[in-house]
Every structure is written in C-alpha cells, then in structure tokens.
C-alpha cells in the first residue's frame, strides 16, 4: 500500500462540518467516561478517533500517542507532582497529620465543637505539606474521626468536617491541581501558590465560622473538650516542631526565593522521609506501600494530561473552542456575568463529573474566554481550584465524600452530604469573595513579582 500522504486525505474529509464532529466527539467523550472508561484513556481514545474523522490522517493520529507521552514525561514543571505526592505519602506514614491535629486541639479543643475546628486546622496544616484533597481527607479521617466519635459528636458534623476540610489539601499550597493548571495554561506555578494563600486562609476561617454558626443553631451536635493550660499547649506545640519546621523550610524556601518549586519539593520529600525514618514509623513495608500507592496516582495524573493533550488536537481542529470564545465575546453581557455563568456550569458539571477531568477538558474553551475578557489567568486558576473543591463535596458524585464512605461503610451517604451543607455555604461565600475581589488572589503574587 502506498504511503498515505498528509495532503491527500484532505479531499476526503468527513461529510460533517468540523464543529459538528467536535460536538459529537464531546458527547462521545462524556458517554465514554460515564460508561466506565478511565478519564485519561477516554480523552486519548476519543480525541484520536475524532482527529482521524477530521483529517483522515491515520499515521499522524498514531504518532500523537508518542509525541504527547514524550512531552509529558520530559516536562520538568509537571514532574513536581511526583515529589509532592511522595512527600504527602511519607508525611502521612510519619504521622505528621496526627501531630498537627493534636496541636490544633490543645489550642481550641475547649470550645464547643473544638475537635471539629481542630480538624479543619489539621487539614489546613497537613494541606501545607500534601498536595491533594483526597490524601488530606483520607489521612485526617483516620485520625480525627475516632476522636470526634469518642466525644459523641454527631456523625453528620464529623464527616462533613472531614470531607470539606479535605478540600483544603488542594487549596492550601502545594497543590497538584495548581501544578496541572499552571502546566496546561502556561502560568508560573509559584504565582498560583502565592495567590492561593489568602483564599486558603479565608476558606479556613469561613469553615470555622460555619462550625460556630451551626453549633449556635443546634448545640446538641457537639460538646466541648477541657481547656488545656498554656504550659500544655506549648509542650504539645513544641513536640510538633518537625512538621512545622518542614512546612517553614519548604514553603518558606520556595516563597522567599531560596530555591525553585522543584527543588523545594525535593527537599520536602527528603525531610519528611528522614523524619519518618527517625520516628521509626516507616517500616520497609510502609515505605514500599507508599511508593506503590503513589505510583498509581502519578501514572493516573500523567495519563489524564496526556489524554487531555491528545484530545486538545481534536478540539482545536474542530474549531469549537475558538468559535465558542468568539461567540461569547460577541454577547452583550457584562464580563462578570459571563464569569458567573462559567462558574455555574462548572458547579453543575462538578456534581456528576470528576472535577479535575472537567477542568482539564474545558480549559481549551474557558481560558481564551477568560483572557479575552481581560481577566488574570492566575486568579482564574484559584477560582478554578475553588470550584473543583465544591465539586468534590456536592452530591451525587463527590469524591471526598466517597473517601469517607470508603473508610466507614456504615455511615449513610445522606448523613455525610447533610453534614457538608454548612461547609458548602462557606465554600460558596469564599468563592464569591474571590470572584468579586480578585485582589484577594492577585495581591500577593503581584507584591512579590
């Protein structure tokens, strides 16, 4: 058979217009994902099929599987997810989450619902080491859930706190989602980390407020612990010097410019490993288990981005993203309204869809619109992460909720979702504030740029 010529197939284009092929492809993708095909694989397969539909270029399509795999494997910016995932894994194995939780508890455990608030602070603290929400939710649940149950906290409050608090794992830097966003949108990840600090602290404050307000309305949900004396507080805090030190060295080093993000992640990985070994909490078995568990997450994240990039060729050739952007810019609607419409669509998508995949998939559409409207793409990255967090705790598909459910099969899903409601309100308020006052996100990176 003669070699297929790259120009030749153009005369045999598919009978449909590119946009129509694009719409069919998008529908197929969503169907494939709902029909059990893993997200990254679905994007790669549907993207490749759509590419052939549009171009007739079979050899070109096949080559993309090599090109995009090579691109991602050699992408130094993306490689940082490996370091952060391993660091989070070792930190969990070393019991750092328990340290942070205990410290928080000695300071605020005597308030009504104190354990719940300590859980939020613990999530935030562990989130400053770990890069993922699910790892944060799972790690903290193992520690905080038994404690809260011991004190007869309502199950809805316990599980709601953990599912919502877990989302801080990706809003408080370091954050895997932000790395992926930065790589896909070609922004500096350090800018995103800096931009997330104030919205992250704001979310923590609003979560704590949500617990307080909730307990004012229904005090029976939780009791108060005993007050710990100052000396006890200082002692407990002093015992947690290692995790605090690691956070200070790693994130402080990155923000102050002592080393790059990649170097900071490598240093953090070594420090947590040393700490785990010194504490004798890292056996050979837990070491390989951590490596093995991280390997699964790492490959899956790589596959999602490889798949998204292959799908990206198809999307571009369908001209859908550019047409949508042109159409939106032609609308006689204020920019902020467009932003809110996009956010509303994301929230709906996040109810039934894997939120991260939803972001990666829609970036080619949304980024031209957002930058076309003159908005800052770092700010949009933070908004995006906050929207994804909401998707992780909204019914019916909320990954963080499933994590808790996976650990404790006896708790009904309804109980968890009921417990989430106050935190969901807090999340929406935080999101509104960041959307309406972009300075909350842009101020720090601008200051240090």
């Amino acid at each position: 058979m003669p070699r297929r010529h790259p120009c030749a197939p153009r005369t045999r284009r598919s009978p449909m217009a590119p946009i129509e092929v694009g719409l069919v492809g998008l529908a197929c993708l969503i169907a494939a994902i709902l029909l059990h095909v893993p997200v990254g694989i679905a994007m790669a397969a549907v993207g490749a099929a759509g590419y052939v539909m549009l171009t007739g270029n079979l050899s070109g399509m096949v080559s993309l599987f090599g090109t995009e795999t090579v691109n991602m494997l050699t992408n130094q910016d993306f490689a940082v997810v490996m370091f952060f995932l391993l660091m989070g894994g070792f930190a969990g194995a070393a019991g750092i989450s328990a340290d942070i939780y205990r410290v928080a508890n000695t300071w605020i455990g005597h308030y009504r619902g104190g354990l719940s608030m300590a859980t939020i602070l613990g999530c935030a603290g562990f989130g400053a080491i770990a890069g993922s929400s699910i790892a944060t939710a799972a790690t903290m649940a193992k520690i905080a859930l038994p404690e809260m149950e011991k004190r007869n906290y309502a199950l809805s409050l316990c599980t709601g706190t953990l599912a919502a608090g877990g989302t801080l794992g990706s809003l408080i830097p370091p954050s895997i989602i932000m790395v992926i966003y930065a790589v896909q949108v070609e922004q500096f990840v350090i800018d995103l980390f800096l931009a997330a600090i104030i919205p992250g602290l704001l979310s923590v404050a609003l979560f704590v407020l949500a617990i307080r307000v909730q307990l004012l309305i229904s005090p029976h949900l939780a009791g108060a612990g005993e007050r710990i004396a100052w000396r006890g507080r200082m002692r407990e805090t002093g015992r947690a010097w290692a995790p605090i030190g690691i956070i200070v060295v790693v994130m402080g080093g990155i923000y102050s410019g002592f080393f790059t993000v990649n170097e900071g992640a490598a240093v953090g990985l070594v420090l947590t490993l040393i700490f785990a070994v010194a504490r004798k909490s890292l056996t050979r078995a837990t070491f390989t288990e951590t490596l093995f568990g991280s390997a699964g997450s790492i490959a899956m994240l790589y596959m999602i981005v490889i798949g998204a990039n292959i799908f990206g060729y198809f999307l571009t050739l369908s001209h859908m993203p550019s047409e949508v952007a042109t159409w939106v810019q032609g609308l006689d609607i204020p920019p902020l309204a467009i932003v809110f419409i996009i956010i509303a669509m994301y929230v709906l998508l996040g109810c039934v869809f894997d939120a991260l995949a939803g972001m990666v998939l829609t970036l080619p559409f949304v980024v031209p619109i957002i930058s076309g409207l003159g908005y800052d793409l770092v700010w949009w990255g933070i908004v995006n992460v906050m929207v994804i967090e909401i998707g992780m705790i909204t019914p019916p598909v909320g990954i963080n909720v499933f994590v808790i459910k996976g650990l404790r099969q006896d708790i009904p899903l309804g109980t968890i979702f009921r417990g989430i409601t106050p935190f969901l309100i807090a999340n929406v308020v935080a999101l509104l504030l960041v959307v309406l006052f972009p300075q909350l996100a842009t101020w720090l990176p601008d200051l240090l740029r």
């Binding site: 059990h36 993922s132 990985l269 790492i298």
Partner: protein, 187 residues
C-alpha cells in the same frame, strides 16, 4: 498463573525502583543546593542527569498503576445492573489496552529516532536513547498487565452470570477491588 504473578511483581519492582531513584535524585538535589549556596560550586550537567531520571521515574509508575487498577473511572452506568457494569468494565479495559499498545509502539519509534539522530542532553552530551529504550520497555510491560485485566474482566461477565453474587476466582486472583477506594491524588 505464575507468569502473570511474575509480571505483576515486575511491575511493582519497576515502580519501587523508579520512585526510589526519585528519592535518590531528591537527596542529590539537596547536595546540589548545598554546594551552590555554601561553596558556590554547582555540579555541571546536574540538570542533564536529573531530567533523565525524571523520565524514567514517571514511566516506571505506569505498569504498577495498571496492576492495581488505579486509573479513575466513573462507575455510574454500571450501578444499574451488575452485568451491564461487567460488560462496560470489560470494554473500558479493552480501550485502555489499545491506548497502551499505541503508546508503547510510538515510544519505540521515538527511541529509534533519537538513536539514529544521535540526540544528546544539553550540556554534557549524554546520549538519550538508552533512557527511551528503557521507557519503551516499561510501557511494553504495561501490555501484559493490562491484557490480564482484560481477561479477568471478560471472565467476570461469564462467571458473574453463573454466580450472580459476584464472587468468583477470577475477581479474587485479578486483585481488582470492585468498590475500590479512590486513589489519592485524583483531585
């Protein structure tokens, strides 16, 4: 099934070695930072080596991720009926197998290309082809691993029919947690 067991062990071994290499690289990075900050002596070509290690470490994760079936899929439709779920799982695994065959094949093509064009690293001229041959090998290893999942998923369709409870040997040997916990890092 000893062959399959050995392949799985190999996958686990690859991931452990690959990520252990990443830990070693992190230690080297710390040494490099110390050298840079304390003595002003960066190691020439350090980045050349670190870039190559990162490629292998990331690639080494793939066989293991398949062996433990860690790729996120939304098991929505399958909730309707167990057999529908089993059939969909099977199809999903077949598509996944096809994708990994294409990746392994094209990585081999790329490995040959960098070999023939004599491509090297930026500063200290390390030939890059051995890294890509190894990377190709790691993705080739994915194929039997994924093939075993396809076979197991096909059995699930049949065996589940005979045994509606859904408990069967294939599921037990294939290490496929049905109500699997979501892996960490999917967010």
């Amino acid at each position: 099934m000893t062959l399959l067991a050995n392949i799985r062990r190999l996958a686990q071994f690859a991931a452990t070695i690959g990520l252990a290499a990443l830990v070693v690289l992190s230690i080297m990075t710390m040494v490099d930072i110390a050298g840079r900050e304390l003595f002003g002596t960066p190691v020439t070509g350090f980045s050349d080596i670190s870039d190559l290690i990162i490629v292998i470490a990331a690639a080494a994760c793939f066989p293991a991720s398949l062996a433990t079936n860690q790729h996120v899929s939304v098991r929505f439709a399958g909730m309707a009926h167990w057999r529908l779920g089993a059939v969909l799982d099977f199809l999903g695994h077949v598509i996944m197998l096809a994708v990994f065959v294409l990746i392994a094949w094209q990585l081999w093509v790329y490995a040959i290309d960098v070999y023939t064009s004599g491509q090297t690293t930026w500063l200290i001229y390390i030939p890059v082809w051995p890294v890509w041959v190894l990377t190709t090998a790691l993705f080739v290893l994915c194929i039997p691993v994924q093939l075993s999942l396809v076979v197991a998923a096909a059995r699930d369709i049949r065996f589940s029919a005979q045994n509606p409870v859904g408990m069967n040997d294939a599921a037990a040997t294939s290490v496929r947690p049905e109500n699997k916990e979501e892996p960490d890092g999917t967010d």
